[in-house]
């Protein structure tokens, strides 16, 4: 069983191979390409399951299973660059999740992208995306992780811009790529710094890895500017990458725009792969982040280090901020996108206050129900002929029963309906951890507020899409343009219809998984915590949480009830065509609809600043550097003028000659820079002569 | 797949290579000076002048009418009319060519001279081996070189020559008839003179030969 570590590379290699083969295929070879991608993903899922089983049996007394396989990538003369695979519960859980959800999304894509003529290319990119993400998961080396990380970025760029003929898609792809690059800059600096400090980028290497005791002790004890521990600084730099990739507050702007890609891509990005990468990164380097005290274990509650505090606050703010914006969005996918940002904030909050188990569990459950929601949204969009505006939908409950049921499960999970939905338990855990977080209670309150908002906007969406009276908008021009751009036959039946089975099947599977997943981390049976912590052998059934847990549960149930009921009341009574909240708070709603103007803010600040710097340097170039010589000439001229007046006032006519000479010197100085390369070269040669003479002279003496 | 076509082609040419040794029929080339392809009757190369009888210069049919000289598109025929006349095959007194030159290096074998000749005098020859060391003078042929007997004409283009002969015989017969008629007419005229009535004119017109009928039917 432990031998699985040696074939762990198969998991990313299979989709990568599929991507490579698909790249060689031709456009009409649609079915083989799809089969290849799905087959490779299914195989990867099987291997992942084997790996998962391997992590289930921890060796007694040693904590969690942790298998590594390190090898030298290439020799650099003396030293070697080493890479490795790592298998621990964190990796295994993620692997199973990614391959499972990924397989389902792949299957869904067959139906969703049926009309697209570039299906082959699409599956190639999807497989590449999945391969990159899986590589990222099994990496035991920060550099390899970074490489896969960037590959994820590339693949997301390709996929978001898959319909590159749409200018908005191309712009969104660029935006996603560039925005995440900003975070990656910090990430890369962190990597370089870490390598400089520890001399290795391997996470675990029999005590010599950078996440192990020796390196951590060294990092914690050193301090850098402002008395900050080196570990904190590196952690914050690494967190920059996670902020970019996971769409946390300052860099969240790309994520909603990434909706321009095909919906399965959105599902993949938001559920399983890309955004999860950031959270996974934080979980992976958690020992570094939490390294402040001598206690470096994973059990118990999270240590309160500066880095984790930053993570907490960023997460909490993001959670509320994005939830607020989501309230006022009208695009079905955009609402989900902002909810993703919000939920990612919850994950970060969970990581910050409760450690990897809390954050990762929310990540896992979120992956399932968000994939479910996105695929459901895709099914809705597909069924209603590429209509994405929720105000133009409505009444789909009857027309698309399976989709409705699945979507309802996802929605309830996301909103946190109690007891049988996994989202409730995972979110509850985050809130619980936040509640007992000692430094401040504000994150907890923010989280609670976010929960209310989540319930609110999800109910709003459900109402608009499935319950509202069906708006008659068949002849709206926007829709016609949409359907034309997606090769829909114009004369097709315009009423929404249920999606084909290849699309509904993944929905059903995901819905079931969403419900089942709630079994794994209830306070009654906190299996997931034990699994991550490697304590499966003394796991007992029973109420294992403290008394605060009950309070939290109560509060969160209340929050959900508040959100749902408020939303339902507001919207079910509202008039069709307008938004209830908009009528109540028009100005606030507009601000929210404009996504609180963050993009505009960036346009006004960052871009302006950029332009200003450009103008400044242009000005400097024009007026400072090129005029230095002129200045010399002017100086000389001024001297000349001075001497002339002196001469005129005085008597010395012989001074004239001196003035002319000085002017000549100025002219000579400006003539030196005449753009003639050969003259510069001549001066260079003369310099060489002088230098050689000087060196030989000094050598001889 | 790249390569299959190449191999197929190689096999085909290899078959040719071996085939030419085993099967002489495959060789399309004739070893020319030793072997010759029999010339077909339709072969035409350059014009020549036909003569009757034994003496080329006396039997030359050409009357130096110079139609061919005028019609020749590349102007390769040069004719100087003789001063005196002599009796031709029809028994009429005609000029004959004092000089008749054709520049073969200019001739383009268009056969227009043959078409326009009213006297069956210029025909196309089949000789093609005309190479000469002197490219200016060597291909300029005079009437002695051009004159070939009617027998030669019969050898190279039997059908056409027969038709030509027939046409000429017809002409000759007509001429003879005309001469006879003339003689008779003279006799009649003499008789009429004696009778002093001018009735000769309507009888003279049908004796003119119709030009269309006179032309020989070319076999081509």
């Amino acid at each position: 069983m432990k031998g699985i570590i040696n074939s762990l590379w198969l998991i990313p290699a299979l989709p990568l191979l599929a991507a490579g083969i698909i790249a060689l295929m031709k456009r009409p070879q649609r079915k083989p390409a799809a089969a290849l991608a799905i087959g490779s993903m299914a195989l990867a899922f099987l291997v992942s399951c084997v790996a998962f089983v391997a992590t289930l049996q921890p060796e007694a007394g040693k904590g969690a299973v942790q298998l590594t396989h390190n090898f030298a990538w290439f020799d650099l003369g003396g030293s070697a660059l080493r890479l490795g695979w790592l298998l621990d519960p964190l990796t295994a859980g993620m692997l199973v999740m990614v391959t499972f959800v990924g397989s389902l999304i792949f299957i869904f894509s067959v139906g969703y992208m049926d009309h697209d003529e570039n299906l082959t290319r699409f599956f190639g990119f999807l497989a590449l995306f999945a391969a990159a993400m899986l590589g990222l998961l099994i990496a035991n080396n920060l550099l390899f992780l970074f490489m896969c990380w960037e590959l994820v970025g590339v693949a997301s760029y390709l996929l978001i811009g898959f319909w590159f003929h749409k200018p908005s898609a191309a712009a969104a792809a660029k935006k996603a790529f560039i925005t995440t690059r900003i975070g990656d800059l910090g990430f890369f600096l962190g990597i370089v710094w870490l390598y400089h400090e520890t001399g290795t980028l391997l996470f675990y290497d029999n005590g010599a890895g950078c996440l192990e005791q020796g390196a951590l002790t060294k990092l914690v004890t050193q301090t850098t500017v402002g008395g900050m521990a080196v570990s904190t600084a590196i952690s914050l730099l690494l967190f920059c990458g996670a902020v970019g990739k996971s769409g946390q507050l300052p860099l969240h702007v790309w994520l909603p725009d990434a909706m321009e890609g095909p919906t399965p891509v959105s599902a993949l990005i938001h559920a399983a792969t890309m955004v999860a990468a950031g959270v996974f990164l934080v979980a992976r380097v958690f020992p570094l982040m939490g390294a402040a005290t001598a206690d470096l274990g994973l059990e118990g509650h999270s240590p309160h280090t500066t880095a984790l505090t930053v993570v907490t606050w960023v997460g909490a703010c993001t959670a509320v901020f994005a939830a607020l914006i989501a309230v006022a969005q009208n695009d079905i996918k955009r609402i989900l996108a902002f909810s993703t940002v919000s939920q990612l904030g919850y994950m970060m909050l969970g990581l910050g206050v409760g450690g990897p188990a809390v954050g990762m569990f929310h990540l896992l459950t979120h992956a399932f129900f968000k994939a479910l929601l996105f695929l459901g949204a895709g099914s809705v969009i597909h069924g209603s002929h590429h209509e994405q505006d929720i105000r133009r939908m409505g009444g789909l409950r009857k027309l698309m029963p399976i989709t409705f049921a699945a979507y309802a499960v996802g929605m309830m999970a996301l909103a946190g309906f109690p007891l049988v939905f996994s989202g409730f338990w995972s979110k509850d855990e985050v809130l619980h951890a936040a509640m007992i977080w000692s430094p401040s209670k504000l994150p907890f309150l923010l989280g609670l507020f976010g929960a209310v908002l989540t319930a609110f906007y999800m109910t709003r969406q459900m109402w608009f899409v499935f319950f509202a009276p069906r708006a008659e908008s068949a002849s709206s021009p926007g829709r016609a343009a949409h359907s034309a751009s997606h090769h829909e036959p114009q004369g097709a039946s315009s009423s929404p219809h249920e999606s084909p089975r290849v699309m509904t099947l993944p929905l059903v599977i995901l819905a079931v998984a969403t419900v089942l997943l709630s079994l794994f981390a209830t306070p009654v049976w906190p299996w997931f915590h034990a699994y991550l912590g490697g304590q499966l052998d003394h796991l007992q059934v029973g109420w294992s949480a403290d008394s605060a847990a009950g309070l939290t549960m109560l509060l969160s149930v209340l929050a959900v009830a508040l959100g749902v009921s408020a939303s339902w009341r507001l919207y079910s009574r509202g008039k069709a065509g307008t938004d209830a909240v908009e009528r109540l708070f028009p100005r606030l709603f507009r601000a929210l609809q404009g996504r609180l103007y963050v993009d505009e803010f960036y346009a006004a600040t960052v871009f302006r600043l950029n332009a200003a710097v450009a103008v400044l340097s242009d000005w400097a170039d024009r007026f400072v550097w090129s005029s230095v010589v002129e200045l010399a000439a002017w100086l000389a001229k001024g001297l000349a003028w001075l001497s002339r007046t002196l001469d005129e006032s005085g008597i010395n006519s012989g001074f004239d000659a001196g003035c002319v000479e000085t002017r000549g010197a100025g002219g000579f100085a400006s003539r030196l820079q005449n753009g003639q390369t050969q003259r510069y070269l001549r001066i260079l040669g003369a310099g060489v002569v002088v230098l050689v003479v000087a060196i030989v002279w000094m050598g001889n003496n | 797949m790249i390569g299959i076509g190449i191999v197929k082609g190689l096999v085909q040419t290899a078959k040719n290579l071996i085939g030419t040794y085993t099967d002489k029929e495959r060789l399309v080339t004739i070893e020319y000076p030793e072997e010759r392809q029999p010339l077909t009757e339709a072969t035409r190369q350059f014009p020549f002048l036909v003569y009757d009888g034994d003496d080329p210069m006396k039997g030359l049919r050409c009357t130096a009418c110079q139609i061919c000289e005028k019609e020749c598109p590349p102007k390769c025929i040069y004719i100087v009319k003789s001063k005196d006349k002599r009796v031709d095959y029809k028994g009429q007194n005609q000029f004959y060519p004092a000089i008749y030159d054709i520049d073969y290096s200019v001739c383009m074998s268009c056969q227009i001279c043959v078409e326009v000749c009213p006297f069956e005098s210029i025909k196309m020859d089949t000789a093609f081996e005309l190479s000469t060391a002197d490219r200016f003078g060597g291909l300029l042929v005079n009437k002695h070189q051009l004159a070939k007997s009617n027998t030669h004409y019969h050898q190279i283009h039997p059908t056409e020559a027969a038709a030509s002969d027939e046409a000429m015989n017809l002409e000759r017969a007509k001429a003879a008839a005309k001469a006879k008629a003339d003689v008779e007419a003279k006799a009649k005229a003499a008789a009429a003179k004696a009778a002093a009535t001018p009735t000769a004119s309507p009888e003279a017109s049908p004796e003119l030969p119709k030009p269309a009928a006179a032309l020989p039917k070319m076999p081509m």
Partner: protein, 180 residues
């Protein structure tokens, strides 16, 4: 001073001199080629067979042809009329000074005199070169690979014809440079 060396050195230097002084650009490029071949032969004299043949392969097979192509593409096939040099005196003076100083340093160097006059011909094994390239010098090798790729792409991009650049622009910029 060895006879063969004298011939090769004369060939190299003479061809280099011709390459820098001839009027016709194609002749210059061809003379450069001769000079580079002479250099390759000098490498052989030094016992660096591998380097010598690589020199021929790269310089004669690629760089010289590249220069010839560039000459033809810039319409340099005909001998230019008028001046072919630019501030001849100053340039020659500087170059002569450089040579003078270098020669003075070489001849006057005591470190060179300290070296043994006669050294055994080192055996330059290709295998050793390969081992070095794949071992000690693997990073420079990869750097060179990157550089060559970048240079290839860069050269293609730079030399690619600009799409739809109006003829007037080129004329304008040219006249602008003529009138400072």
């Amino acid at each position: 001073m060895n006879f063969i060396f004298a011939i090769l050195a004369g060939l190299t230097v003479g061809a280099a001199f011709a390459a820098m002084t001839l009027r016709n650009l194609v002749h210059c490029a061809l003379c450069l080629t001769v000079s580079l071949i002479g250099l390759a032969l000098l490498y052989l004299q030094l016992g660096a067979e591998f380097a010598g043949f690589v020199q021929v392969l790269v310089y004669v097979g690629a760089v010289a042809i590249l220069i010839l192509f560039a000459v033809l593409l810039t319409r340099g096939g005909e001998a230019p009329v008028g001046r072919i040099t630019n501030s001849l005196g100053a340039g020659l003076l500087v170059a002569a000074a450089v040579f003078g100083v270098l020669a003075w340093a070489i001849i006057g160097s005591s470190a060179l005199k300290a070296l043994p006059k006669e050294t055994p011909q080192p055996a330059l094994l290709v295998k050793a070169v390969g081992d070095k390239l794949m071992g000690e010098f693997v990073l420079p090798l990869q750097g060179i690979a990157l550089l060559l790729t970048a240079a290839l792409l860069g050269a293609v991009v730079i030399a690619m014809r600009e799409k739809s650049s109006p003829a007037g622009v080129a004329v304008d910029s040219r006249s602008a440079t003529r009138n400072p």
